[in-house]
Amino acid sequence: MENRMRLEFDAVSVNESFARVAVSAFFAQLNPTVDEIEDVKTAVSEAVTNSIIHGYGEKEGTVVVTCTYHDKDSEVVVIDEGVGIADIEKSMEPFFTTKPELERSGMGFAFMEAFMDEVSVESEPLKGTKVTMKKRFGERKLEE
């Protein structure tokens, strides 16, 4: 079965929990394990937080999250039209952060990669950033 949803919301921090809860409710249709759904929630929280803090620098903006699934394969795309990332490779290094004054841990992309099967980032300075994350549910059997 295939399904799709699209969320569009203001880039304000109170929407971080809204986004991860909405995404997890959508993928609940696939009957994932608690651990799988928590992995997705964490990854979505990281990507949306990045858009709000870094993309828009806590200024006004819109974040778009789309979710699709095809059988057990899920995909989450998080898009902002913020400042973009100058050096994607650098930004994905663990502990790298451009905002140490906010005590950012620099673990955002590392968490996305740890909790999802695939993460890809497209970004253009002053245009915005698109993060695509994929995860296949039900890889592990219940009895494990």
Binding site: E16, S17, R20, T42, S45, T49, E103, S105, M107, F111
Partner: protein
């Protein structure tokens, strides 16, 4: 958000919120720092019994508090982690920085050996 704190036997026990993300990070950070400042304790205990969600923003808060607290010679530990928070501790490597305490240590109130 209202944080709950308990100070006894030279320990400051901070009850961590249900969800720890960027949205609550600033206030949480300021709250904990204020409590550390006024309580003059040597042991800081993060109690995660209410916590159901934490992302990397929480890691930033914990590392920051640990660093500040370490300067003054204090020790830090975390208790009552559910499986999810434990996973976050492991994946981030935070478990190497903040020891995960046991129920007994917390209940006995003697982690600092007083």
């Amino acid at each position: 958000m209202r944080q709950s704190y308990q100070c006894k036997n030279g320990q400051l026990i901070v009850e961590m919120p249900k969800e720890i993300d960027h949205h609550c990070a600033k206030e949480l950070r300021e709250d904990i720092d204020r409590m550390i400042e006024i309580s003059h304790v040597r042991v800081l205990v993060f109690d995660f019994s209410q916590t159901e969600f934490m992302d990397s923003s929480g890691i930033g808060v914990l590392i920051g508090r640990c660093r500040n607290f370490g300067y003054s010679g204090g020790s830090v530990q975390a208790v009552h982690l559910n499986d999810r928070v434990k996973k976050i501790f492991m994946v981030s490597g935070l478990s190497k920085l903040i020891p995960i305490g046991t129920e007994q240590e917390r209940a006995g109130g003697r982690v600092d050996g007083e």
